[in-house]
Amino acid sequence: MSTGTHRPEDNALAGEYVLGVLPIAERRKVEERMARDSGFAALVQSWQTDLAHLDEAYQPQTPPQGIKARVDARLFAEAAKPAGGLWGSLVFWRGLAFASLAAAAAVGIYSGNLIEQQAPGSAPALVAELGAPGSSVGLIAALDPAEGAFTITPAAFSPDDGKSLELWLVPGEGAPVSLGLVPSDGGRLVLDQPLVQQISDGALLAVSVEPLGGSPTGTATGPVVLSGSLSKK
């Protein structure tokens, strides 16, 4: 593709941008120029096309389970429950958790994105990230006490055929109490009001693998695959 009309300086700058060598302030300046100078943007695009042949060097690496669930929680939370603002708060809450894990310099980037998604005036809610020990989040359960319902974002895994996932409230003492079956592709899990009143900030939730339809005995019979604590948004 011909770029003969461009000055060498512009060619070099577009190439530097695509290589990625520029410091952050210069990267932003190049992007501003791309937005107002379509000829320069085309030059960047031609560099991207040419250098894309080097992408072969990137070897696939399987990402951990749970990343897609986090992506979905961020993107589709609002759509899952547009009225309450609960999910906007969940996104914000998640963002704080991520920011604390990420390098200090990354905090600004994440919080910058997330603050604008925070819904104002959201109802009090409790949120738990359920994961296996030492691994990523498998699902996110958010309780809206006013409605007495959990909203569950899609789990990162599904049980084998003929099995169900059951959600349990694990009290400080005494036997776990069944909260119901985890909807196979996410959604709402409505609880009886007396059950809702047993659930408070800090409560431990767990998910076990049970026979289809749930535990026949009323207590968890299968392995606990996910667990996590509820906390205020």
Partner: protein, 199 residues
Amino acid sequence: MRWSRKADNDGSDKRGTYSNMSQDELSGLIARTALGDRAAFSSLYSQTSAKLFGVTLRILKDRAQAEDALQEVYVRIWRRAGSFRVGQASAMAWLTTIARNQAIDLIRARQPATLEYDEAPEVADAAPDPEARAVLSGESRRIDSCLSELDPDRATAVVAAYVEGLSYQELAEQHAVPLNTMRTWLRRSLIKLRECMSR
């Protein structure tokens, strides 16, 4: 050729996961994603996330950061799917660009925002030498053949900058030259490359 694009033998897996899906199929998934089709987005994720995790991991060199970056990459893919144009870039190249930009922005955010030079870097005469021009007469000039026209250490710097996401500062340290010398080298190399690719 002394520069190498071969990846480190670092225990990578699922080699070529996405390659059993054609670029046309990936383009179709991106197009359906742009229309809000979550099932298509999920397929796109399962077909391409290993490759893009390979990108963020290679550049960020830290699993936790690479995972956070990957999450942000797919948020961006969902939001920007409508800007994908078949013909402008291959589907995989478009996705990889998003992943590279995200990873590079994250590492650059931790580094000084500007470069400090003793003097402004020059972009001087970069006319290709006639001999090299004569050697390369084929129809299709990929980046590989044009890189081979550069001095091997300059070609290595270009490839390392792209694949590893190295900064000017890191390149200068690796090649044991001052920052502005490094920038002058690289900019001249880029102009030679562009000239070669345009022939």
